[in-house]
């Protein structure tokens, strides 16, 4: 680690300047996905399967094509199958032999108006042979379940699977012998849990405009977390050369992982090419719910044993996650994250990846972790109560720390779990009195974080201002953070920097904005690009003064001789050097192309007070506090924003949000009225505690912060409900009907 991280004092990093894209966002001028238009643009719309599982016998588009005003119709035939590794996404973008879920795209049209496009969809005739379906994970694993794919044989199973099934893979982690651990325990608690699927719920539906010509060149504008990813898949599915498709990311109205893949973009490209005109597709909210996102749903068994003085002796978890109609439920990630908070001698986790007739899972903020955290932290809470130990003390006694062999394999470097737990324990919230009927819960959570491919370009203008181009869409204020890091490194005012999100033709490949990676990896690349520009500026100053390059250093925004021996010259400011640059060698720029890796893992701990209405089963969150390690908070207001937003998404999942399927396999609540995300009046203020334990893998010590905040809330709320009512909820969301039922059963039982 660079030695100066822990002691370095920052001049600008850590302050709270206004965000550079702020004014256009409070005046309505920012252009989001659906705000882009082109002359002569057609409206694209998609026909979707009304069946959960059906063989597509025939699609007749002739009547739609004959309708005046219809300019193009596409089906799976327009996306020929090739051996390019895009099999699943191609099949998800447009159904081929079978429709695999309610909402699966089967055809698309482009027409001169929305009304004509809608009319055309009605004229497309699809002959379906309806097949038996399965949407529940436990049902899908039964040998009698209808099998979605004949090519899926359970991976990593011994002996090897002989029959195709809905179980795509088995993933095991751990060390030691949990059974031996349980024998040493004074108390062993085993519980089974269910967690329903949630949607990312971004307010902006997916939207794009494609403008492609017959020679295979084109442009695509869309709201996405990764326009380079959109280019790769859209070009791939349409047989285009990568460099001939330029993708520009619009402002993005929320993603949370849900915009790390494509749905409509390759379809708009295909329609535009066929029609010879620009085509715009905007999803309705109904389409967003039925065909994009959501998370896995989960069925989980957890067993943990501990001695009466509070030491965990053995831990076991089995996770069954369904991730929709294609493999990739992230049960493997969940099995890794399950006991990541604890220092355990005997631990084993098994994750099963299961497919069902639901939309293909998309990542959602620490994908896989909230459900398993709910299960594990509920049992941990119950053990602490059984033993009679303070729940934070119980966690501290077993907490993972530097040098702990994690349950998923690696040994931890410096981590911040103990610090967050201690911060919560010391917070006034933890000691505040509660009224009868109220309860307090605590839980901790973990996420990996990662880095990835990053390319940035920093250009210094003749007037001494700086333009920074990055390739990771700004989903929560990252342009402000990047500008702060440039200002810090170059020693110039924040206002002199402008950061933009450049298109795919202007920069090298950038991985998607995900994995809490942007402040970490784009930040790392930005700092390096600034340092490269400084090198050039020092060389220009050296040449101007006629002294060696290594006799010049950069201090507080100026090039100056390293000492009296180097020569006696007035320091040159960045603006001075920039003004002369056309005569000293041309434009001054700094670049960085890097695969930023070595992101540090992240821990957080949450505290909640709730009140349960015993007549309705409704839960009111009275007070909520988040403690999390940020490594270094570059723009603390937006770090707080990540903590608060993630916590509230977790609260929504804990109390209300779920995908509800009918017996017909159709989604019953595809709208914000019936899929209820938290509203303003549901919530208290969300207090935040930002801890700063520097990440050795980043020049400023930054750690990703975006994902971990969604991990502990479900467990925190569940534990608070248990404290308030004495009833342990094992099925999330803990909606009023479920709580009422549990309260009634509990009363009947006692």
């Amino acid at each position: 680690m660079p030695k100066d991280i822990a002691t370095r004092t920052f001049k600008q990093v850590g302050t709270r300047p206004l965000r550079p894209d702020g004014i256009e966002k409070v005046t309505g001028r920012a252009r989001f996905g659906a705000d882009f238009s082109m002359p002569g643009m057609l409206t694209g719309r998609i026909l979707r399967s009304p069946h959960a599982h059906a063989r597509i016998l025939k699609i007749d588009t002739s009547a739609a094509e004959a309708l005046p005003g219809v300019k193009a119709v596409v089906t799976a035939r327009d996306f020929p199958e090739t051996d390019d590794g895009l099999h699943d996404i191609r099949m998800n973008v447009m159904a081929r032999e079978k429709a695999l879920y309610d909402g699966h795209a089967v055809a698309a049209v482009a027409a001169v108006s929305p009304a004509v496009a809608k009319e055309a969809l009605k004229l497309i005739r699809v002959d379906y042979e309806v097949l038996p379906h399965v949407t529940d994970v436990d049902e899908a694993m039964k040998p009698s379940a209808p099998v979605l794919h004949q090519h899926i044989f359970t991976a990593n199973e011994s002996p090897a699977a002989k029959r195709p099934s809905n179980v795509a893979g088995k993933y095991e982690f751990g060390h030691g012998d949990p059974e031996a651990g349980f024998r040493k325990a004074d108390h062993v608690i085993a519980r089974s849990f269910k967690v329903e699927a949630a949607h990312q719920g971004y307010i902006e539906p997916h939207a794009c405009v494609a403008n492609v010509t017959a020679d295979g060149q084109g442009d695509l504008w869309c709201c996405t977390q990764g326009h380079f990813m959109v280019r790769a898949i859209s070009a791939g599915l349409n047989g285009m050369d990568l460099s001939k498709l330029r993708v520009t990311a619009s402002e993005i109205g929320g993603g949370f992982g849900g915009k790390t893949t494509v749905y409509i973009e390759p379809v708009a490209v295909a329609l535009s090419r066929k029609a010879g005109k620009p085509v715009k597709i905007v999803m309705t909210r109904d389409e967003v719910f039925r065909a994009t996102g959501p998370t896995h749903s989960a069925s989980i068994d957890v067993k943990i044993g501990a001695t009466k003085d509070g030491r965990i002796t053995g831990a076991f978890a089995e996770l069954r996650y369904q991730g929709g109609a294609f493999p990739g439920s992230l049960a493997d990630m969940g099995a890794m994250a399950a006991f990541a908070c604890y220092d355990l001698e005997n631990v084993r986790t098994i994750g099963w990846d299961v497919v069902t007739n639901r939309p293909k899972l998309a990542a959602y903020r620490a994908p896989s972790a909230p459900a398993i955290c709910f299960a594990v932290e509920s049992v941990i809470d119950e053990l602490a109560r059984t033993i009679g130990m303070d729940p934070i003390d119980f966690r501290l006694k077993n907490a993972a720390r530097e040098g702990t062999l994690s349950s998923y394999g690696p040994t931890y470097q410096a981590i911040g779990l103990e610090a967050t737990l201690r911060a919560l324990k010391a917070h006034p919230h933890y000691k505040a009195p509660l009224k009868p009927g109220q309860g307090r819960g605590v839980a901790c959570g973990f996420w990996f974080n990662f880095g990835g491919q990053t390319c940035v370009s920093l250009n210094i203008g003749l007037d001494g201002t700086v333009a920074l181009s990055v390739g990771t869409p700004d989903i929560g204020g990252s342009r402000a953070s990047m500008s702060l890091m440039v200002a810090e490194e170059l020693g110039i005012p924040y206002e002199k920097v402008r950061c933009i999100i450049a298109d795919t033709a202007s920069l090298g490949y950038n991985d998607v904005t995900d994995g809490s990676r942007v402040t970490f990896s784009t930040g790392l690349a930005t700092i390096q690009a600034a340092r490269n520009a400084i090198k050039v500026m020092c060389a220009r100053a050296a040449a101007t003064w006629g002294i060696p390059e290594d006799a010049v250093e950069w201090v507080d925004g100026h090039a100056r001789p390293t000492g009296p021996n180097a020569g006696n010259f007035e320091p040159l400011s960045l603006a001075d050097i920039a003004a002369q640059s056309h005569q000293t060698g041309g434009p001054i720029a700094g670049h960085c192309e890097v695969t930023a890796e070595g992101a540090g893992v992240s821990f957080g701990a949450h505290l909640a007070d709730v009140e349960v209405d015993r007549e309705t089963g409704a839960v009111k969150v009275l007070r909520y506090t988040v403690a999390q390690d940020a490594g270094k908070a570059v723009h603390p207001a937006y770090v707080e924003g990540q903590y608060q937003g993630g916590a509230v998404q977790g609260i929504g999942w804990a109390l209300n949000e779920e995908y509800i399927y009918g017996h017909d396999g159709r989604l019953q609540n595809a709208g914000f009225l019936d899929y209820r995300i938290p509203v303003c009046s549901d919530l208290p203020m969300i207090d935040t505690l930002i801890l700063e334990i520097p990440n050795p893998g980043h020049p400023y010590g930054v750690r990703g912060v975006g994902e971990t905040p969604i991990v502990p809330p479900m467990a925190t709320i569940g534990n608070a409900i248990a404290a308030a009512t004495g009833v342990r909820m094992t099925h999330a969301p803990m909606s009023p009907p479920r709580i009422l039922k549990a309260l009634t059963e509990n009363q009947a039982g006692t």
Binding site: R16, L18, R19, D21, G22, I23, K25, V26, T27, G28, R29, A30, R31, F32, A34, D35, A115, Q200, G201, Y202, I203, E204, P205, E251, I252, G253, G254, G255, F256, V282, T284, R285, I475, G476, G477, A637, Y638, E640, G641, Q644, G645, G646, A647, V648, Q649, G671, F672, L673, I677, P678, V679, C680, S681, D682, L683, M685, I686
Partner: protein
Amino acid sequence: MALHVKTNVNGDAAEFLCEPDETLLDALRDRLGLTGTKEGCGTGDCGACSVILDGRLVCSCLVLAAEAEGRSVRTIEGMAKGDELTTLQRKFLEHAALQCGVCTPGFLVAAEELLRRNDNPTEEQVRYWLAGNLCRCTGYDKIVRAVLDAAKDMREHAHA
């Protein structure tokens, strides 16, 4: 059959042709190019399309475009005067009350109407007034603080 609608938007006369079943939201965005008003759901559940119609806060996705005939519409584009932001807009920026910003126009329109009716709302009043506007990024904390702070600022300036 297209309808010809004459209305007033943000103090200026405006007219457009629209279909009988077209929403005010679509007319604002697609006919008048005022894309600051957003569509999040199209069913009146998210508030991203909030506008003021003759002094009443409405979801423009639930109003027919033809209903704007002879009435006045106020949208996010009418809020700032030139380069001068309103107190509320300024406070949203200062408090970092937006992350992605797609719900922000709706929140600003709704909050402005609240403060017009009540210059000293409690936190609870702010929370219930804004309960029809969904934000998925912020957890509402900073939005509520921005509105309360704007109200305080506006009261102090009104009395100064």
